[in-house]
Amino acid sequence: MSAAPLSEAKSNTPFYIATGREVEAFQAAYNSCLPVMLQGPTGCGKTRLVEYMAHRFGVPLYTVSCHEDMTASDLLGRYVLVDGNTEWVDGPLTKAVRDGGICYLDEIVEARQDATVAIHSLTDHRRELFLERKGGEVLRASKDFSLVVSYNPGYQSVLKDLKTSTRQRMVAIELGFPEPDIEEKILIESGVEADSAVALVRLGAVIRRGSITGLREVASTRTLIAAGKLMAHGLSFKEAATLAIAGPLTDDIELRAGLEALIDTYQPA
């Protein structure tokens, strides 16, 4: 769990290139006080979009990476012991509701049901947060408050899905991997040379065709950037792409060797 204070976020604008109309959609949802659900494959830029938007609105961003053991208290806050007395400490969600800001629940399906239920009253017209633990205090959300969750529908290993009643309250913005020319721009902006960027983008695109069976995921924009960064630090194209792209995709030795042969073919000339 981390909360990025406003001052830090302001110092440099997060780099983001829109792949569609997601920035406008996000803006409209924010202006209408509607919660946003970002959908899209791992590593396509969901988190980066939220960072970018928070910076654009000039509000702090509270990011919570949801996990299985997260309880409602982790979101809302809890009493802690101080000098033999108890003292209430706001959780990230409560902070964002009180002071304004974006509360971003990353991979919300990972969270336990009782944690997701806590956001219900915030996501409809009431925009209220009910702190049962704190003697039933009711907080009205600041006008700058916005709730954003991310959700990757293809991700099935967690054996669960978002409840329909929760989903219904959201505006769904779907993100995909960027078009080749945009992805190239993103890579170049991240410090990758133009030739290598073209090669990496094509490599990513061919893996995303999905015809290679047995891969865990496809090569995301994030892995392409990672490969590009490794190259910037002196690794060869093949080494970098193998480490950042092939490695994370499979443990199968044969398939991995196949991917390495594939990568070799994409060597920028």
Binding site: T71, S73, Y79, T86, R133, G135, P153, G154, Q156, S157, L159, K160, D161, P180, D195, V198, A199, V201, R202, A205, V206, I207, R209, S211, I212, T213, G214, R216, E254, L255, A257, G258, L259, E260, A261, L262, D264, T265, Y266, Q267, P268, A269
Partner: protein, 555 residues
Amino acid sequence: MRELEGDKRSHLRVLATAIAGRTLEVDSADSDTSWTDGQTIYLAADDGPHTVVIQAALVGVGCFATMGVLKTLGRLRTQRRYMLLEVVRALHVYRGIAPPAVVRAVDNLQIADIPDSQSHSLHRAKGSEALPEMPSWFGTIKPTQVLAHSLRHKPPAADAQAKGERSSSKDEGSDSAEDDTSEKQKNDGAGMSNPLANLLRWMLGSSRSGTTFSTGGVELPGVVGRVSARTGTQIHTQINRSEEPASEEPSFKQHSYPEWDSRCGVFRPHWCSVFERNVDVPTGTQPVELRRDERLRRALATLGLAYERHRRQPYGDGIDVTALVDYAVDRTLGSAADTRVYEMRRRTARDLSALVLLDASGSTAKEADEGGVFEAQRRVAAGLVSILDDLGDRVAAYGFRSWGRHNVQLLKIKEFGEVFDAGARRKMSALSPGGFTRLGAAIRHGTQTLKHQGGTDNRLLIVVGDGFPFDDGYESDYAQDDVSKALSEAVESGVGCVCVAVNSDTDEVVLARAWGGVPYLRLTDTNELHRVVMPVFRGGLHQAASMGRDGRQRQ
């Protein structure tokens, strides 16, 4: 000629498959020119990955898709010009995904006007415009080989038409300039257009009791003896086919499994080859229909549960620290305190992985009434998969069939990591019955898949089919004993096994021998599944739980 190393070949397979967008094999060519038959790229010794990219792109873009076009490619000059233009077209289509080096090489040919279709390429190939010479590393195309290959892999329905096309292609092939060096493949192509599936179906339909042949473990003679009197020449074709099916039914990975020889009391090691294959989904296939069955859903909801922590309980076997702190806070504040400060573990979490094996062999197609047994089985399988998936269980579904021990196929409908979406449901629709039932190998592969990919403590293998084992050299006692052995291996390793048969007329004696060790459900009305399914499924899981040590270790 240098033989392409097996390793290198399999590595390039990934490249070929990635570019073409469907599974392609890579093998070494007999000649010094690379080419493809649409299924395998035959790579010459001097050629490398870039040639694979060119050939795979041709396959992917559908250069070989229209028979009519291929048939008119008589002369070598036209062929080469056509291929050049198609390469340019393919690399234009795949510009965004092809390796930079190959894209540049094709750009360097400097063909300004890029063809936009196959027929456009053909038209220009036959024309007189000046085109550059094609680099030799592009390889070549062999239209008649592609035709022959696609005929071999046509479904029975298209057979009559295929025959016609084949003969006409041969007529024109007389002046064909194709530099054919691999006579072997050509011979394979000739005479392969028999309606095999119909034959197999007829065979199975006519004698299903399976007690006439006691020669378990001996291959082929049984099959020949049964049909030769009636069908004469077709038999030879069929035998040829089953002798080398492994090379004809390529797949990404081959799994080999032993088979139990009950007469000798030993395993035959590496006896069966199992291939996981993709289901070909014809365009326009509708996803399999799902009926809402709340009763079945309720029944299955209680299956395969694991312990889960329940907090804030009025009593329990442990203390919920958070609740206790709250209690202390409330008491200090002097307000009414909630005394539910315990936690307990109860069986409420879903902990089940299930693998559904749908019998897609020819025997299931025999009944003509109301869509037949196979339709009913497909409905049952679809219902089970969708409900278990919906309940949050890990579910995979495969169709299975075989053509002899070298070619046991598991047809991927839904793997564990995948969702049961329209695509998966289309695959389930597209399954059509054919082939035989080498049940033991299918069960062994299903068991391995469950053990490695299931990831839960409760694991259940559900065979949807009549449970009657029958294949080339795999019948009566020998086959039934192998099934029984495969099932007990599975149960001992912690995988529960059950069989759901719909309208099956399988002999009780066969059932007792093959399936006697595990629960078997004989269903006459698929709407009654919810009433009878639980004792069977639960029985299967209990067996595995009580016998399996392997599967229980983590608890």
